[in-house]
């Protein structure tokens, strides 16, 4: 019994970790730039595909599997250049436009990235092998837990703490919080919005790509995964509260654990439950758990 509970909770937390990484990128961009970046799922997908590529190349070059985390993290960071390309190349033209146009522009990016992925990697699923299990397992009260899953959970936590620290202690973090609270005042105080926006969007991009790269050893990169992920990420940020990092964290936990419990007890309602909660939250407490007040 205890073993089962551990398994259910652990799997829920693992799923929550993957969701958090996608959602975090979304939140930081929305919080500062008020843009709901539909392409966050696509960034995640890109991270996954490039992660596989980096790992395969590293293995072929002789890197021992135990060190495979290195090419994965490298993949996540490597893709940072996508951020400025999209932000400077497309998004900045619509900052003064209606929010809905910004949303539509990110939708255009989703479409384009879908085909970019298809162009580069084709349509077969890409996955790593000999990596997921290389770190072994641990047994805890009878429950068998793959160490790699623990690594992913630990990484998510680490990233969450890192972001929290950045927001609270660094100058950049303070600028972000100031902008979230009051954009005009921040500008009036002489903060260069252009630079902030570029940096924030890049941060959001890397969070997404990192997430994809880190998770990929346990699954596989498949076409249309970006389009599917967006729906889950969206559920997480709505529940947690748009624009809030804490919201991303707790929203992910809610979705991950609830889903796990649903699967273990009443599997039929798995997906429906998530949407109903989303609608419920949007109706009764649109700010989500941690969002500020807005209409």
């Amino acid at each position: 019994m205890g073993t089962d509970i551990i398994n259910i909770l652990f799997s829920g937390i693992f799923h929550a970790s993957t969701l958090f990484l996608v959602a975090a990128g979304l939140q930081v961009v929305f919080g500062v730039q008020r843009i709901f970046n539909m392409a966050c799922g696509s960034f995640y997908a890109l991270g996954a595909y490039v992660g596989v590529f980096f790992v395969k190349t590293a293995h072929a070059a002789g890197l021992p599997p135990a060190l495979s985390l290195i090419p994965l993290i490298a993949a996540g960071f490597f893709l940072f250049f996508i951020g400025p390309i999209i932000e400077r190349g497309l998004l900045r033209f619509v900052y003064d436009r209606d929010e809905t146009f910004q949303l539509l522009l990110t939708f255009a990016v989703v479409l384009m990235l879908e085909d970019v992925i298809k162009f580069i990697w084709g349509t077969s699923p890409q996955s790593t092998s000999e990596l997921y299990l290389v770190y072994g397992q641990i047994t805890w009260f009878g429950a068998v837990l793959p160490v790699y899953n623990l690594i992913v959970i630990a990484s998510s936590l680490f990233i969450a703490v890192l972001i929290g620290y950045m927001l609270a202690r660094t100058r950049f973090g303070k600028i972000i919080r100031a902008t979230v609270d009051n954009r005009e005042a921040s500008e009036a105080l002489g903060i260069n919005m252009k630079v902030v926006y570029a940096k924030v969007f890049t941060l959001g991009t890397v969070l997404g790509t990192m997430g994809g790269a880190l998770v990929i050893p346990s699954t596989a990169a498949m076409t249309e995964m970006g389009v599917e992920l967006i729906v889950m990420a969206f559920a997480v940020v709505v529940i947690g509260g748009l624009g809030s990092m804490k919201g991303a964290f707790f929203g992910a936990m809610v979705v991950g654990i609830l889903r796990s419990i649903a699967i273990a007890t009443y599997p039929e309602v798995e997906l429906l439950v998530i949407y109903l909660i989303v609608i419920g939250v949007l109706v009764f407490r649109p700010e989500g758990l941690f969002g500020g007040s807005r209409a």
Binding site: D4, S11, G12, S127, V144, S218, I263
Partner: protein, 431 residues
């Protein structure tokens, strides 16, 4: 038993006709490598191709498309069809609505002679009536299940359907009863859509027929394209069945095994993955257990060394793509080969290029050599072929699992005969 004998005789007869037709036309084709046969138009033959290339179904879809291209190369190198060069017009299969539009486009605008393709069930159900209404020959690769088809395509003239997709579940049930006779509890994890549901229901019916005391303790329904099964695996562990059944057929199979290996799910548990062979060369040894039932649908890439067409095809496919072909490759290749054979059969009788109706008539009951062996269409225009399932083993020179022993189950054994209902047929089995 009577059925199999009749089937066998028909197969012999079909073989004879096919062989003689092939020998005859082969000779003719050789003599006229660049010239078309007499009485035949000289413009190229247009074949419409409808593979799925995105999403989960893109995995078999791509295999089918590759096989089609290999067939095209080979066909054109040996004189085409009756000397006419063959050209492909390709459109992607996507949603039913869009695929119907493309089907119409291929028919009305490109004016193709035949359309080969169609994998997803929903698309198949939509295309059937359109094919009949437009009078367009359609050779499906993989799309249908028993339920919807009875309503929309009771008696088709131009649509040639795939095998009943529950065949692999029937095979899986038989295999389970034979190889794992002592199991008491079974859990199922299937994709939440018609194919998954039909397979699970069929498997339960078959297994219950042989082992009435088996209990089904859990069924899980992840959506098609799910990539994260840790919660499902936790739930399976909680239910602790003796055997896990699944009809997964695409990338999710690989992911599931990976994540299951991470928690030692199959340490004691047995498994029956009746269609998992569709991604067989991604099922690496380091996470796929030996000793479980794995089904390869109509194509197992090394069931014999004495079928030259298969050897040639597997070599060619692997050389080009560094992957081994799966069943969809066989389905695609077969439909094209069947079309060619039907046209040649008609020509041998009439001496002129046949109409679509004539080809349709010739396709019914035809038998042709495909890369998996001999296969054909039944009297009611469904595919029939051999199904391959077996017990996984690590004893092979590859880094993925293979099966040994291999059980070959012909359609006559595991596909319901024309006009019967599936569950009535299962109940009527004597043994």
């Amino acid at each position: 038993m009577k059925k199999t004998r009749r089937e066998f005789v028909k197969m012999l007869g079909g073989t004879a006709v096919a062989t003689s037709a092939m020998l005859a036309t082969h000779g003719e084709a050789k003599a006229q490598a660049t010239k078309t046969a007499k009485g035949v138009p000289s413009e190229p033959v247009k074949i419409g191709l409808l593979p799925v290339l995105t999403g989960v179904a893109g995995v078999p879809g791509l295999a089918g498309q590759r096989a089609a291209e290999i067939w095209l190369e080979q066909a054109n190198a040996t004189g085409g069809i009756l000397g006419r060069k063959v050209e492909f017009y390709q459109e992607e299969e996507t949603s039913p609505k869009d695929t119907v539009e493309k089907f119409r486009k291929l028919t009305l605008q490109n004016k193709v002679d035949v359309i080969s393709g169609g994998i997803s069930t929903a698309v198949g159900l939509a295309l059937g009536p359109v094919a009949e209404e437009l009078g367009q020959l359609w050779l499906s690769w993989d799309a249908t299940t028993q339920k919807g088809v009875e309503e929309t395509m009771p008696q088709t003239k131009y649509s040639f359907r795939s095998v009943d997709n529950e065949m692999e579940a029937v095979g899986g049930g038989i295999m389970t009863a034979k190889h794992f006779p002592n199991i008491k509890t079974v859990a199922g994890i299937n994709n939440d859509y018609s194919y998954g549901r039909d397979c699970w229901d069929t498997y339960k019916a078959v297994l219950t027929h042989f082992k009435p005391n088996v209990k089904f303790v859990l069924d899980l329904w992840p959506k098609l394209g799910e990539t994260e099964f840790s919660s499902h695996i936790a739930s399976i562990k909680k239910a602790n069945p003796d055997l896990l059944f699944s009809s997964f057929w695409s990338g999710d199979t690989t992911i599931f095994f990976k994540q299951a290996a991470g928690v030692n799910l199959f340490q004691k548990m047995k498994a029956c993955f009746c269609t998992g062979g569709g991604v067989h060369d991604t099922l690496k040894k380091d996470f796929t257990p030996p000793g479980m039932i794995l089904g390869y649908n109509s194509f197992y890439f090394k069931w014999t060394d004495s079928w030259p067409l298969m050897k040639w095809f597997v070599n060619k496919y692997y050389t080009k793509y560094k992957e081994y072909p799966s069943y969809e490759a066989d389905h695609a290749y077969y439909t094209l080969q069947a079309y060619k054979a039907a046209v040649e059969k008609c020509y041998a009788i009439s001496g002129a290029w046949p109409t679509k109706e004539q080809v349709a008539a010739a396709l019914t009951g035809i038998q042709v050599p495909s890369v998996s062996g001999y296969r054909g269409y039944t009297e009611d225009n469904r595919m029939e072929c051999l199904f391959f399932q077996g017990i996984t083993t690590h004893k092979n020179p590859y880094n993925f699992v293979t099966i040994d022993p291999v059980e070959i189950m012909p359609a006559s054994q595991i596909m319901k005969p024309a006009g019967t209902k599936l569950y009535d047929w299962i109940k009527s089995w004597k043994s």
